[in-house]
């Protein structure tokens, strides 16, 4: 993990927005790693969930957004129910996704889903996926 402390306005804005959209206090996280231990997606993430929180605490929002972690999260809410400090990491992941998606950037392009997949995937998979990963 690359750590550079900085307090530029842009970063501050991102941190404030994350706090506002998630309603979660990520400063109370004490880095125990329980969220990562139970996360079904962490092995596919560039950086694990507890590191996402650490980077937020030190204002490194760009570094989080360069990594795939927020897009791999499956919103299973396991981290949020297990965190001993009551940090709702699932909501933080959502807030970070929203910060990107609200700039009209899509992570998934519905047109790239093949006809075969459209035929076989249940609607709830498609709707949930587009709800989470498109702007």
């Amino acid at each position: 993990m690359n750590v550079t402390l900085s307090s530029s306005e842009l970063k501050k804005e991102g941190i404030e927005k994350t706090a506002q959209l998630s309603g979660a206090n990520f400063f109370s996280c004490y880095q125990c790693g329980k969220c990562t231990a139970g996360c079904p997606a962490s092995e596919f993430m560039d950086i694990p969930p507890h590191e996402v929180i650490r980077l937020l605490q030190i204002g490194q929002i760009e570094e989080i957004l360069e990594k795939n972690s927020i897009w791999i999260c499956a919103s299973c809410i396991t981290c949020a129910v297990r965190c001993p400090k009551g940090v709702d990491l699932a909501k933080i992941m959502e807030a970070l996704r929203q910060i990107v998606l609200r700039k009209n950037v899509n992570y998934v392009h519905p047109s790239s889903v093949s006809k075969e997949e459209l035929r076989t995937l249940p609607q709830i998979a498609l709707i949930a996926n587009f709800r989470k990963l498109t702007g």
Binding site: C76, V81, P122, A125
Partner: protein
């Protein structure tokens, strides 16, 4: 005959139709009529996790309004994702006055408001436990499967967050174990019962879902399960349709059929079949025949 208002959701009309059909059969036998709401809309499938997004609460709230208009106090839901979304929307409206007012203002053309306490969103399992009674279900069982072992899979949306959990424990739930044990079926030890299947990442992170399926189904197989029982059409898809691809690459992987709660229950209480078997990737018929559940 008892009547209960019911919201199917989109997937129960298509790939998950075995879930709906078998539940209707089951309820018929139990003496309860499931009355589908005249109008309902897609719940949005995932509850909005960002605090300022009220727009996405409108769809579930409108469905709750339709439920209120029936004059009944309960809304039965089968699909885990609909259950979670509707239940959380209801709870948001009940507890957040500011958002409640905003939502009702926006829906000013509706004949009535929704205040959050008019409707209880009830999942199939809780309805069977609290309104029908597990004992009453068990009394209806006519088929005694010879030594059928099942892995009961809860996934995420029936349990998390804790406020909406169908069981007192969201870490080690036992409501399904209780039901099926009473009905004469043996649940196996299944430590992966609350692990996420990968959910909607099945659309663009297929490898992750395959790896989840390998572990979850693998655990059920290792513990001797003949079948996995689920309550979510997305879990069902991810666990069922991934198995062939896992079996192609993982030596010794044993495929296991995946069925909905109501499919197995309907068979136990005497239904002739559990729906359209073509909707299954791993055909459940060999196991069902072997255990004497179908002819």
């Amino acid at each position: 005959m008892e009547v209960v208002s019911y919201m199917p959701g989109c997937t129960l009309k298509t790939s998950g139709r075995n879930f709906e059909k078998s539940a209707i059969t089951l309820f018929d036998i139990l003496g309860v009529t499931m009355e589908e709401l005249d109008r309902w809309v897609c719940c949005g499938t995932t509850y909005s996790l960002s605090s300022d997004n009220i727009m996405n609460q409108l769809a579930p709230v409108r469905t709750l309004l339709r439920a209120k208009e029936t004059g009944r106090r309960e809304l039965l839901v089968l699909c885990s994702m609909c259950y979670n979304t509707l239940r959380r929307a209801q709870s948001l409206v009940l507890h957040d006055k500011e958002k409640r007012d905003k939502i009702n203002e926006f829906m000013y053309r509706e004949k009535t408001t929704f205040d959050g306490d008019e409707i209880r969103v009830v999942h199939l399992l809780n309805y069977l436990k609290d309104s029908v009674g597990f004992e009453r279900v068990a009394k209806r069982v006519v088929k005694k499967p010879s030594d059928l072992k099942i892995a009961l899979y809860y996934g995420c949306m029936l349990l998390r967050p804790h406020e909406v959990s169908v069981d007192e424990s969201s870490e080690d739930p036992t409501i399904m174990e209780e039901l099926f044990s009473l009905c004469g079926v043996t649940p196996v030890y299944f430590p992966f019962k609350t692990e996420c299947c990968g959910s909607y990442q099945t659309v663009n992170q297929r490898d992750m879902v395959l790896s989840r399926a390998e572990r979850i189904v693998g655990s059920a197989a290792k513990n001797g399960a003949d079948m996995i029982v689920v309550s979510c059409p997305l879990c069902c898809h991810n666990l069922d349709s991934s198995q062939q691809r896992v079996a192609d690459t993982v030596r010794g992987f044993r495929k296991i059929p995946v069925m909905y709660i109501s499919q197995l229950l309907a068979l136990l209480v005497g239904a002739d079949d559990a729906g359209d078997y073509r909707l299954h990737s791993v055909d459940p018929r060999p196991v069902l025949k072997e255990k004497g559940l179908i002819g």
